[in-house]
Symmetry: C3
Subunit: 258 residues, 3 copies
């Protein structure tokens, strides 16, 4: 239904893995590399050239790497010079600019706008309409909810670009605003609507404008059972590597035996 | 100008009413049903298949119903399994996911993102860039302004999905945030920028982060004349069923005679 | 790479300057005028017809003017009846509706949504996902950061449309909300996350929900050197007309000699 081979454009030196599918009206520019079993839906642009293309006649598109077993939904724009790991999934109309690095098993929701020069660990999830300013550094298992915005210029406009840094497992609520250069530790919960202009220590819940410390993360009760909901890895496993065995067991398996 | 029949793709078992127009580069996937006189502009995707399409070889696209006399502006994506009533109007680049039900005379603005499994009454208006999380329930004559976000997971991430519920005639201001499971009564005004984490009784104005009760809705004065602006139905009739006769008269006509 | 002449649609009475490039899958509707050396990338729609097109058989598209030396990135929608000056630059998927007037050297970021009937001076910069309601008036050298929203209806819904007005050189922070009819003076800094519901005098910093006066703009220290960062024109010149000579010298050159 989606893969009729209509109006597809494929540039020079494009490398397609085995069993790759390309949707109608999609464009792959020069030097795109797509891993095995990856699906690119209709109306996507992969390997979008960077600024220099418009001014430099000798421009060569840098490679764009999309890992295997990924699903890019329609109308995505992914710039050349980005590298995305295996098992990536996207919503519609995402924009990922140049020099973005993502680990494996990440997902990026509809209308997300990643401005480039940022790094993401493994198993990150960006819900719809997340905006990530340049030079952000995001750990593993970080989930970011709709309309969260990551800033990077403390005195706009200036030449200073200092992105936020987010620790593993932290949850960044919807419509929250993370100020330039802010560090949020591991296992934090930034409540929806927070304006975070001070660093946040690990295992904290913050909320408000400006965001203030609310409680330790272990104090948030579960809606689904007794006791604490956080750290959430003990209560949620959909799509996580500990699905089936539990977080504790997965940690044990990861740790090398003495 | 917009309807040149260029690069249109039409799937299996698509049913087009009389006098339907389809714009260039538009795709209608299998089992789409379009009512009479409806216009689908260029670069739209109607009947987008759900997730299962990518993994299940026996996948059949569920029907997508678009009512008559509707206008879908360019670059819309509407998933299969959604049902939208008559006289629907959209802006550009909207996304409506599966199992969304809308009554008649609704409108959805540019860049809105409706995540599916939600219901809307009649005469709802979503302005630009509204985000509606799954399992939201929205009454009749509800207007939602730009960048408002409806949440549904009280302890993210979790398996709990409880969308907000909004009563008839309520107005949800720009960039407001409605927390998971929140109930907002009839005839409320949620001021722009509110973070609503407690239920709101009918006929209330709330504002702030977190949102607090400000005044009864009748206390908000009109800018256009003397007296109260709300309930707004007595002062505003553009596109409403009481246009020409007034709200009071319309109510009388609706009420069956004894 | 981007300009293969594939699936381009060009309407009646379209006027292309010298050395104009048009990307694949782009549509130029009737009466579009493009200045010399301007580049329109792939999948754009220029001269989108207004509402009346769908109901009025005698509809004639009003002219759409794009100045010379501009770069429109992919997936832009620019309505007919808008006039944009020279050296314009855009991100992806912008929407600019009818009767928008922009001076020269403006830029509009990815996913911006300009609702029309608004004016912008010269050298304005809108970062990603800025929403400008109708009847906004924006001065020169105004920079607006991601997810800022300009409102125009003080008692929604109503027929009153009063857009904000922003003075020269002011900086409107990310995710801020500017209320209907608000005037912000020259050389202000609206901090990210502000909800501005009162007028702001020139040379002020405001922050918070609701926004409150924080300090005079000269009190904000630079991160890049000693002393004050604002007025920013003395510290930032990328893309500005005073690049190379400095703001003071540029002002002198502008002032006619006695």
């Amino acid at each position: 239904m989606k893969f009729n081979g209509k109006n597809i454009t494929i540039g020079k030196n494009v490398s397609l893995g085995e069993n790759v599918k390309i949707g109608d009206n999609t464009i792959l520019y020069d030097h795109v590399v797509i891993g095995d079993n990856t699906i690119i839906c209709n109306d996507c642009v992969i390997g979008e050239p960077t600024n220099r293309y418009y001014t430099d006649e000798g421009y060569e598109n840098p490679p764009t790497i999309l890992g295997p077993n990924s699903l890019i939904r329609s109308h995505a724009i992914i710039y050349s010079g980005s590298r995305i790991g295996a098992h990536f999934t996207s919503g519609h109309r995402i924009t990922i600019r140049e020099q973005t690095t993502m680990g494996h098993h990440c997902s990026v929701g509809t209308l997300c706008d990643i401005q480039g020069y940022s790094t993401f660990g493994n198993y990150c999830r960006l819900h719809s309409s997340v905006h990530i300013g340049q030079k952000s550094r995001i750990g593993n298992f970080v989930f970011i909810y709709p309309y969260a915005v990551f800033l990077n210029d403390p005195t706009p406009p200036s030449k200073t670009v200092i992105g936020p840094q987010i620790g593993d497992y932290s949850q960044i609520g919807a419509s929250s605003l993370i100020f330039p250069g802010i560090t949020i530790g591991e296992n934090c919960l930034v409540a929806a609507g927070s304006v975070v202009n001070k660093n946040v220590a690990g295992f904290s819940v913050v909320a408000g404008n400006p965001a203030r410390f609310l409680c330790p993360i272990e104090a948030v009760r579960s809606r689904e059972g007794n006791g604490a909901h956080y750290p959430w890895m003990f209560h949620y496993e959909t799509g996580m590597p500990w699905a089936g065995c539990g977080y504790q067991e997965w940690l044990k398996q990861k740790t090398p035996k003495p």
